[in-house]
Symmetry: C2
Subunit: 84 residues, 2 copies
């Protein structure tokens, strides 16, 4: 079994209104050290071993559903989980 | 300047309807290897050096605004950015 951690972030060139709103809130709470906030998604998938290549599988799921590759980038990390 | 990556996840004991919905979608697309999906937030903060301790600052921002610690856990990583 694998635990796959997927990080989906907006591309650099894409405006992030949610991040701007959080930055505004932090500034209004006097955290003026904060220069920029960008917000993305973090997904943890638990995937069973199968005869498909895991990298292929994860990339396909990201491209087809988890990320909108027009405006988002994704990266992922794989951790093998030893069944108890 | 620091780049701080914050990961906010639902606590284990808290139901994740968004994750369940994504799992359902993946199954309907025949990705039956996927056993579980949990969805969280990923934030990238750019923070200027100040006289406050960075760990204190980040923890305080997480507890006060970025995470709802009743139902969410958070962890973070700090990267020092060398100004160009």
């Amino acid at each position: 079994m694998y635990k796959v951690k997927v990080y989906v972030t907006l591309r650099e060139s894409v405006l992030d209104p949610q991040g701007t709103a959080v930055k505004g809130s932090l500034h209004s709470m006097s955290y003026n050290e904060v220069q920029d906030v960008r917000i993305g998604k973090y997904l943890e998938l638990t995937i069973e071993k199968s005869n498909r290549d895991l990298d292929d599988l994860v990339r396909e799921m990201c491209e087809r559903l988890l990320a909108n590759t027009v405006i988002e980038d994704y990266r992922y990390e794989v951790e093998e989980v030893v069944a108890q």
